[in-house]
């Protein structure tokens, strides 16, 4: 019975669903604030102290808006794809140890790194479906661009995620995070840099925010969405950003582990995790502000001609490191 309550608390309250939801909105606020300050603007500032409640207000506002399904849309897919995409990303997050263990207790298994990478592929495909089902030319082109871009960065992203796996001799996220006596960013900085770049494409942020190019595609795959479904699409995007940043923390920044000063280790682990997460989001937002949007063909060319060979090279380097150098250090 107590075990059951613990499970419910972990999944629904902390570090599960509620915590992830609020963390997502907090990260959204941080992102908007940082971007605004970098662009010499103020950013959200009215709702709550320094506008911290603005993402929540936006979410609630969208939920109250009229929800229209276009006449020609494939209605079932149009309705369920955004919610499914959101659920899949949240499910993937559940395997990341926020406070030292995966959110669903004992769910971690030997190959969960591959499993969550596959889940993210599914989430992207669901996003594609949501745009495709809206049967608007802008939605369809935006959706097609999600897939086209996905073709470019998915393989490099996967190859780069293997670097920490080689170093930790494990494909399980939990043990990769736990086995970083020295954070892997220091051991394999090249893999970290490339991973962040590939992640920028996965998260559809500048210079790779092509599926969302509002000056060409109106709203991309979101064009026909409104009301609650649009709220879920926005939330999916924000949760994806949290997921991406969390993945970087787990793979390269030593996961939630850090010094424990007093009291519960879980508290300190969560704190370190969130701080590291914010650091990754700052880096990602800095890149976003720095560049103009590339064209889809330029992204594919860059990914296949530069990023893919580089990530293969990084893999070779990391394997060499993991085989001959790293064992001497541990």
């Amino acid at each position: 019975m107590i075990l059951g309550l613990d499970l419910v608390f972990r999944v629904l309250i902390f570090p599960g669903f509620t915590f992830i939801l609020f963390l997502t909105m907090f990260c959204d606020w941080v992102e908007r604030k940082i971007e605004a300050r970098m662009q010499n603007r103020v950013g959200p500032s009215f709702t709550g102290p320094s506008g911290i409640l603005q993402p929540l207000a936006d979410f609630i506002k969208l939920l109250t808006k009229e929800d229209i399904v276009p006449r020609d849309a494939k209605k079932t897919v149009f309705r369920f794809a955004p919610i499914l995409a959101f659920s899949v990303v949240v499910f993937a997050i559940c395997f990341l140890p926020f406070d030292g263990a995966a959110i669903i207790p004992n769910s971690a298994f030997a190959g969960d790194l591959i499993f969550i990478m596959a889940l993210i592929t599914v989430a992207n495909f669901l996003l594609f479906l949501s745009g495709w089902a809206s049967s608007s030319p802008y939605g369809a082109i935006g959706a097609a661009r999600v897939l086209t871009q996905f073709l470019g960065y998915d393989i490099p992203l996967f190859l780069l995620a293997l670097a920490p796996a080689f170093l930790a001799q494990s494909l399980s996220i939990t043990s990769i995070a736990a086995n970083q006596y020295l954070p892997f960013i220091l051991l394999a900085p090249w893999a970290f840099v490339l991973f962040v770049i590939a992640l920028q494409a996965e998260l559809e942020k500048d210079p790779f925010d092509i599926p969302l190019a509002e000056s060409e595609l109106v709203g991309g795959l979101e064009t026909e969405y409104c009301g609650g479904k649009l709220a879920f699409l926005h939330l999916t995007r924000d949760v994806q950003i949290v997921f991406g940043a969390a993945l970087v923390v787990e793979l390269f920044l030593g996961g939630p582990y850090g010094p424990v000063f007093f009291g519960l280790p879980a508290f300190w682990y969560s704190l370190w995790f969130v701080l590291k997460l914010l650091a990754v989001i700052v880096i990602s937002e800095y890149l976003t502000c720095l560049f103009a949007r590339l064209r889809i063909d330029q992204v594919l060319t860059a990914n296949w001609k530069i990023l893919l060979p580089l990530s293969l090279l990084s893999l070779i380097l990391t394997v060499a490191l993991a085989t001959w150098v790293y064992p001497l250090m541990v």
């Binding site: 970098m38 662009q39 010499n40 603007r41 030319p137 500048d206 210079p207 925010d209 092509i210 190019a213 509002e214 000056s215 060409e216 109106v218 502000c289 720095l290 560049f291 103009a292 949007r293 590339l294 064209r295 889809i296 063909d297 330029q298």
Partner: protein, 513 residues
């Protein structure tokens, strides 16, 4: 007639040649063959009672030559000159819309400015046109919705940008025939917000018209007002006091600063460079503050008047203007470095939307678009007005002809504009800044040009000796630059359409006068 026409360079007056309708084409052909760089500026129609007058304003050696001809109103037919100079296409379509002149052999004689459901045989700029005839019956309206969906035409897909689209801040429609990601054909449709300013100007006094034409375009409002009052002053024979001329120059250059900064920021937005957009628009604010300081208004200056300007510059303003401009100049150095070195920005603008010099000449483009294609054309140099003849400044040209070159022209022009304003303030003559002029303008006509931020702005005013003008013709820079957009979009990538489009700095408020 071959060889019988010689064009003398280095004269800045206006020549006018009267020809018969049947030999009109031959004269124009001769002109374009004699001067390969000649282009058409405007085609003015004129209701002359039984006849319709047509005036081809041709730019040759930096000056304007007007070829006049007349066609009978019952049978207003004249051969097209589109094959001689492709840039005439839109001018002819405009005259066909507004005066009912039929241009025989025109490749695409469809409506350009009037709505599709506008009644047949009602030509708004003819004097006998009645407003009651123009009440459009809604049952005649075509269902616009059916054209909005993409249509498959063999292997080509029809993608429609506009009338409402985030890349366009104003309602215009561009149908792109697309094969994959490559644009094959572009068909523009303008006139969605046509306000009939030319007709409205005929029903107002000259003084009222100053404020009317100012509202043709919010961004280059001072240029429109200045061009109109200069044209009227030419008919009146008024000379503006030197201080008035310098003050006008300062306000025109502030207008250019504000327009160029706005465009460069907007270009940043179109290529997804939001930081650049926010920075540029931040730096545009001090320019608006200066405009407010000098004129009392931030955007629509309302400071030009026939005979001078309406407000003087106070001594106390000078340090404020100097400080603001010095700050802006410093920032422009940073932006120039950014435009020259930033990789993603260059990837999106270099070798995109390239307009070769020969094409630019044929399509009669104006302003920064022409200067980006290595055509040294600037009314401020070709035919100095106001104080430009006395102020030294550089004419900026770039020779690559791509979007990047067009943006760089504007970036460098901002620095030149700052120098011009500084020079004008340092050399500001003392004395009156306006003269009183009569309300009734003697019969006569005049053409005039100013270099608006987007390029050469052309006005033709005909007076019939009353307080109301007989005809006001406005040819805005964007109207001259639309053929260039068709040229650069065709064969390009669909993702490049917004980026190359914005580099032309289109203003449809101007186009739909």
């Amino acid at each position: 007639m071959g060889g019988s026409l010689q064009i003398q360079p280095a004269h800045l007056g206006k020549a006018s040649i009267q020809v018969k309708a049947d030999s009109n084409r031959d004269v124009l052909k001769l002109l374009f063959e004699t001067d390969k760089s000649a282009g058409i500026v405007a085609l003015t129609g004129l209701d002359m009672g039984e006849k319709i007058g047509l005036m081809y304003h041709i730019r040759t050696n930096g000056a304007i030559v007007t070829i006049r001809t007349e066609v009978p109103k019952e049978n207003p037919k004249i051969p097209t000159i589109t094959d001689l100079i492709p840039g005439a296409q839109f001018h002819e379509r405009e005259a066909a819309d507004l005066f009912g002149v039929i241009f025989e052999g025109h490749p695409n004689p469809a409506r350009l400015l009037l709505p599709d459901d506008w009644p047949e045989n009602l030509y708004p700029l003819r004097k006998d046109a009645k407003i009651d005839d123009a009440i459009v019956k809604t049952e005649n309206s075509k269902n616009q919705a059916e054209t909005v969906q993409p249509q498959s035409d063999g292997t080509l897909v029809n993608i429609i940008i506009g009338p409402q689209h985030p890349a366009l801040l104003e309602p215009e429609k561009f149908s792109l025939k697309v094969n994959g990601e490559i644009v094959k054909q572009v068909e523009p449709r303008i006139g969605y917000v046509h306000r009939g300013v030319e007709k409205a100007a005929e029903q107002r006094t000259y003084l009222q018209d100053v404020y009317l034409v100012e509202r043709i375009c919010g961004i280059c409002n001072a240029c429109h007002a200045a061009c109109f009052v200069e044209t009227v002053e030419k008919i009146l024979g008024t000379t503006v006091p030197l201080r008035g001329q310098y003050l006008r120059t300062i306000i025109l250059e502030l207008n250019r600063l504000h327009s160029h900064l706005l465009l460069l920021g907007h270009a940043g937005f179109e290529i997804g460079y939001e930081t650049l957009f926010q920075y540029m628009w931040r730096d545009r604010e001090p320019v608006l503050d200066l405009t407010e300081l000098l004129t009392g208004n931030r955007i629509i200056a309302s400071v030009m008047t026939v005979g001078g300007v309406r407000r003087d510059l106070k001594e106390t303003y000078i340090p404020k203007i100097k400080t603001a401009l010095a700050n802006l100049k410093k920032k422009m150095g940073f932006y120039k470095q950014l435009f020259e070195n930033e990789l993603t920005l260059k990837m999106r603008t270099q070798n995109v939307g390239t307009l070769a010099k020969e094409d630019a000449l044929k399509l009669c483009v104006v302003g920064p678009v022409a200067r980006g294609s290595d055509i040294a054309m600037d009314v401020r140099k070709d035919e100095p007005y106001e104080a430009y003849g006395e102020i030294p400044f550089k004419l900026i040209t770039y020779n690559t002809g791509d979007s990047w070159a067009r943006l760089m022209v504007r970036l460098d022009e901002i620095v030149e504009s700052i120098n011009i304003i500084n020079y004008a303030i340092d050399h500001l003559p003392q004395g009156p800044y306006r003269v009183k002029v009569p309300r009734v303008v003697p019969a006569g006509e005049a053409v005039n040009r100013v270099e608006a931020p987007r390029g050469e702005l052309f006005y033709y005013v005909k007076s019939n000796g009353t307080a109301y003008p007989e005809r006001v013709k406005v040819r805005t820079p964007t109207f001259a630059n639309i053929p260039a957009f068709i040229k650069i979009a065709e064969g390009g990538n669909i993702a490049d359409v917004p980026a190359s489009f914005v580099s032309l700095d289109p203003c449809f408020s101007c186009t739909d006068r």
